[in-house]
Point group: C2
């Protein structure tokens, strides 16, 4: 562009200039495509890692709470908050297990699920968000009861409850970030 | 298309056919643009209404809980769960007030905020989601304490707490749907 605006260089150099321009524009285009691929790859791996983390944390939360039985008042199933947490941890484990399985299957076989990418993106986005809402709700509900018990006594029952709640919070964080990634992925999809 | 496949009508009717085709394709294009405008308009109005609802509900939640003082153990500020709910209700009121104000300003003056639409879309999306997470966390936390109190006695204090919690839940629903709309809006943006 600069050479054509310069009146001193008004020689027939337009052809090479156009060539250079075309070449540079095609380089830019290739670079942008490669960048897009890299970004998509990163997003895919990122959401796989995040869901894997959410799976591990919700499984831990479920196992720790479900094995939290020390007799009498130290049984988790005497308290509705803890029962709620176990139920949601199971649900979250199942959901993340399904998602991780689907993503690993896609990675290994290279085949997509029999769904339009847009539909799958929306399912990802809504699913992650709903499970994240459930997880933070369950974890928040169980906190005050545990605090209350720990004021009286600090024993293996309250410690396990606290550990399970923390795991549920970690699972929530992983899924919340994954939901935001899914939203971002939705926003960068092209529909042609 | 059907007429050109019919061997009996092999007359030079290609020109008018092309005309009709061009016309119909431009009609389709106009229709799709109008549909897109309508959808964007609906999305804008929908998110304004949802945030207005969230504002009303979180203000109600805050006011009901903050005026919930009946002396002695019937003061909301003796319980950390209720203090948490008040704090989050204030935060949510401020956030939704800001968003409603910005959207009304845009509607009345037609001017955009000094932000790229994409940045604004992302702020919307993240903001709605984070405030929705906080709201459901606060509302869930306050539920067991209220249930526990109501087992003993059912009075104006527990009734007001329950009302405030319900309002927080309604505000959460409105914001969660608004977050999903923002995600959908992100996904339908075009970047050229």
């Amino acid at each position: 562009m600069g050479s054509s605006e310069d009146p001193a260089s008004e020689k027939p150099v337009t052809a090479p200039a156009a060539d250079v321009e075309a070449e540079s524009s095609s380089t830019v285009r290739v670079q942008s495509i490669v960048r897009k691929w890299k970004r998509e790859d990163l997003l895919k791996k990122g959401s796989l890692v995040l869901r894997g983390l959410a799976l591990v944390f919700s499984l831990l939360s479920f196992i720790i709470m479900a094995s939290n039985k020390h007799g009498d008042w130290k049984n988790f199933d005497r308290y509705e908050e803890y029962r709620y947490l176990v139920a949601i941890a199971i649900l979250s484990s199942l959901y993340t297990m399904f998602q991780v399985f689907v993503q690993l299957h896609q990675l290994s076989t290279g085949k997509e699920l029999g769904l339009a990418p847009r539909t799958y993106g929306l399912i990802n986005f809504f699913g992650d968000q709903i499970v994240a809402y459930l997880l933070i709700s369950a974890a928040s509900t169980a906190v005050p009861r545990t605090n209350q018990m720990r004021e009286g006594a600090d024993n293996s029952f309250t410690d396990s409850s606290a550990a399970s709640i923390s795991m549920a919070f970690f699972a929530f964080f992983a899924l919340a970030v994954s939901a935001m990634l899914s939203g971002f992925k939705l926003s960068t999809q092209t529909y042609i």
